[in-house]
C-alpha cells in the first residue's frame, strides 16, 4: 500500500535536511508504529505524507498503491485516501465544524466522481460516528476546533477519519494530551476502522498507546532514518531500555 524509498527531505525555507534516506513499507491491513526520540523526524514524515509544502523532497520517492504521490497536493492525496490526524489540529474561527465536515466529505466524493451526500444522509453519518466518540452535536455547532479541549480536538480528528473513511491513516502523536479515558475512546475509534484493505501508521513517543492500538510492526526512527524494525515486542523493549541502546547499536 505504501512504499517509501530512500526518502530525503529538507525544510523548504532553510534547507535543513530532516529525512535522510528513509525506507518503509506498509501493507494493506497493517498497523505500523513509528517510534523515535524528539527531533528524529516523526512529525516531519507525517507532514510529508500529507503533502505539506514546507518540506521539499530532494531524493527518493513515496509510492501509494504503486504510484508516486510527490506531485499531488494535500487535497488530492486526501481524496486518494490518505488521512493525517494532526498532533495539533488547527483552530479555524468562522468556519462551522458541521459545514467543514460536509464540504470535506462532498469534495472528496466529487473528486472520486461520486454523488454528493444529501443533508439528511450527512447528518445521519455524523450522528452515528459522533456518538461512538462521545462528541455532542453541541460541540459540532462551534467553529472548527475553536475552544475545544485537547481531548476534544483529538476526538474530532478521529471523527473526521471515521467520516472520510481513508485507506491510509497516519496518526501523529494522537495520544499526546489525552487522559486515560480519552485515550481509550480514541483507540476504540481507530480500532473500529481496522480492516484488511486499510493501513494505519501510528506515530508515537510512548508505548502506552500501543497497548490499545496493537501494532503489527514497530519501526524505530532516528535522525531521519528507520534504524530498526520489529514486531510489537520491540515497543516494549524500547519502553524498558529507552532509545539509546538501539540507536547506538544501529550507528
Amino acid at each position: 500500500m505504501l512504499e517509501i524509498k530512500n526518502l530525503h527531505a529538507r525544510i523548504a525555507e532553510d534547507g535543513t535536511e530532516i529525512i535522510k534516506g528513509l525506507d518503509l513499507t506498509v501493507k494493506p491491513g497493517e498497523v505500523a508504529a513509528i517510534m523515535g526520540p524528539n527531533g528524529s523526524g516523526k512529525s516531519t514524515l507525517s507532514y510529508i505524507l500529507a503533502g505539506r509544502d514546507d518540506y521539499a523532497v530532494t531524493e527518493g520517492d513515496i509510492l501509494y498503491n504503486g504510484e508516486s504521490i510527490l506531485e499531488m497536493d494535500p487535497a488530492e492525496r486526501a481524496a486518494a485516501g490518505i488521512f493525517l490526524a494532526f498532533q495539533y489540529p488547527m483552530e479555524i474561527p468562522g468556519v462551522a465544524t458541521m459545514q467543514f465536515l460536509k464540504v470535506a466529505m462532498n469534495e472528496q466524493r466529487k473528486a472520486r466522481g461520486e454523488a454528493e451526500l444529501t443533508t439528511p444522509d450527512f447528518i445521519r453519518h455524523v450522528k452515528e460516528a459522533a456518538g461512538d466518540l462521545e462528541i455532542s452535536m453541541e460541540m459540532l455547532k462551534r467553529p472548527l476546533n475553536v475552544g475545544f479541549s485537547g481531548g476534544e480536538k483529538k476526538r474530532a480528528e478521529i471523527l473526521q477519519m471515521k467520516l472520510l473513511q481513508p485507506k491510509l491513516c497516519v496518526l501523529d502523536e494522537t495520544d499526546s494530551g489525552l487522559d486515560i479515558d480519552a485515550l481509550k475512546i480514541v483507540s476504540d475509534g481507530v480500532n473500529s476502522l481496522r480492516s484488511p484493505d486499510r493501513a494505519t501508521i501510528v506515530i508515537t513517543h510512548y508505548q502506552r498507546l500501543l497497548d490499545y492500538i496493537v501494532p503489527d510492526t514497530v519501526h524505530v526512527l532516528s535522525k531521519g532514518r528507520i534504524v530498526k524494525t520489529g514486531d510489537k515486542t520491540l515497543a516494549h523493549e524500547l519502553e524498558a531500555h529507552g532509545y539509546a541502546d538501539i540507536i547506538n547499536a544501529a550507528a
Binding site: A50, G51, R52, D53, D73, P74, A75, R77, A78, A79, F83, L84, F86, P89, M90, I92, P93, G94, V95, Q99, F100, V103, A104, E107, Q108, A111, P143, Q160, L164
Partner: protein
Amino acid sequence: MTVQSKLPLTAAETALVDQFGTRVGSLPGNANVVQIRDRAIQAIKENGLPTRRVEAWHYTDLRRLLAGVPADDPAADAADLEPVLSDAVRFTLKNGRIAATGRVESVTVQSMADALRADVSGVSLADHGIIDATGLINAAFVTDGFVVQVEDGAEPAHPVELQSLHDGGQAHVRNVVTVGEGSRATFFDRQAGSDAAVLDTAVTELKLRKNAEATWITVQETGEAATHLAQMNITLDENAKLTLFVVNLSGKIVRQEINADVLGEGADLTFRAVNLIGDDAHCDITLSLGHLVPNTTSTETVRNVVTGRAQGVFQGQIRVDQIAQKTDAQMACNTLLLSDDAGFSTKPELEIFADDVVCAHGATVAEIDHNHLFYLMARGISEKTARGLLIKAFVAEIVEELADERLIEALETRIDRWLEAHG
C-alpha cells in the same frame, strides 16, 4: 487659500464644466438651487478635482484616477433590480430619474426634484467646502432622489429600499431620510448598474430623531467601469441607535464617505463594512465620526478582502469633543490580501479633547493563514474551496452580527458569488 500654480484642467474636469454648461438649464431647482449649482461647478473649475496633496483624498487621487466623464444619457434604461429582501418596497431611480415609487404605511416619500423646485425645509445641496468633490459634483448635477420621512413612533412593516440604477452615462442622486422620534425602520441603499462607463454620485442625508432606531444597509454593486462617489451625512439625536452596514462588491473607482455626528446623549452607532475589491478596482471608505456630547458609544469594524491589482483604503477619523466625556468608541480595520499586487492603506485617526473616554483603534493586514489552508486541504478540500471557506469566514464574522437571518443569507449569497469569481 493661495494657489501657487494653477494646473490646467484635466479631460474629466473639462467635461464636468462643459457638461454643466449644456445641462444647467434642464436641471431641477429654483433660483437658489441654480446659484448653489453654479458655485459648485465654479469650485471645481477653480480648484480642480482633489489630488493626493489634499489630505482627505491622499490615498484616492481623484484627479489622476478619473480619466474621463461619460456624457449623461437620459434615454438609458437600466435593468430592474430585485430587492435584497422580498418584502422590501422599492423606490427606484434610473440614471438619476425616478422610475418607480412604492408605498409604505407611515412613511411619506416625495421627489427631490420637486423639493428643489420649491423651498422645502431640511432639503439643501450643502457641501463640505472646496475639497468635497463628491458633494460638489452631486450638487452641480443632481437630477432627483427621494425625500423620505418616517413618522414619529412608527414601525413600518416593510423595509424601504432606495435604488440608484444606471446603464452608462451619469447618475446623480440625493436622498434625505428622516427617521422620526421613537420610530424603528430598516433601509436598503442599492447602487447597481451595467458594465458601461458611468459617473455616479449619491449623497444621503440620514437623520435619526430622539429614540429612533434604524438599520441601514448599503449594497454597492456597480459595474466594472463605474465611478461611484457616495457620501452619507448622518446625525443621531438623543438615544438614537443606528446600525450602518456597507457592502462594496464591485465598481472601478469607489469612494464611500461617511460623516456622522453623534449629537444626543445615549446615542449609539454600529458601523460595519465589508469591502471585496478585485481586478483593478479602487475602493475607499472614509469615515469621519464626531462624538459631540457626553455618554455616547460607537463601534466601527471594517473587513476587507483585496485581490488582483486592486487597491483599498480606509480612513477612519473619530473626533471626541471636549464635553463628550464617557465616550466609548472602538474601531478596527482588518484586511486579507490575496495577491502580491493588491494593496490596502489604512489611516486611523483619533482626535480626543475629552479626558474620560475609552477609544481604541486597530488595524491588521494579512494573507490567508498557511496552516489553516493546509489543514483544510489535508481533508480533501481543494485549494480554491479551502481559500473560499477561509475568506468567507473572515467576512462572515461581521455579517453574522446582523440579527435578521434572511439578511445574513442575502449578503452571504452575494459574498459567495464574489468569491466564486475572484477567490
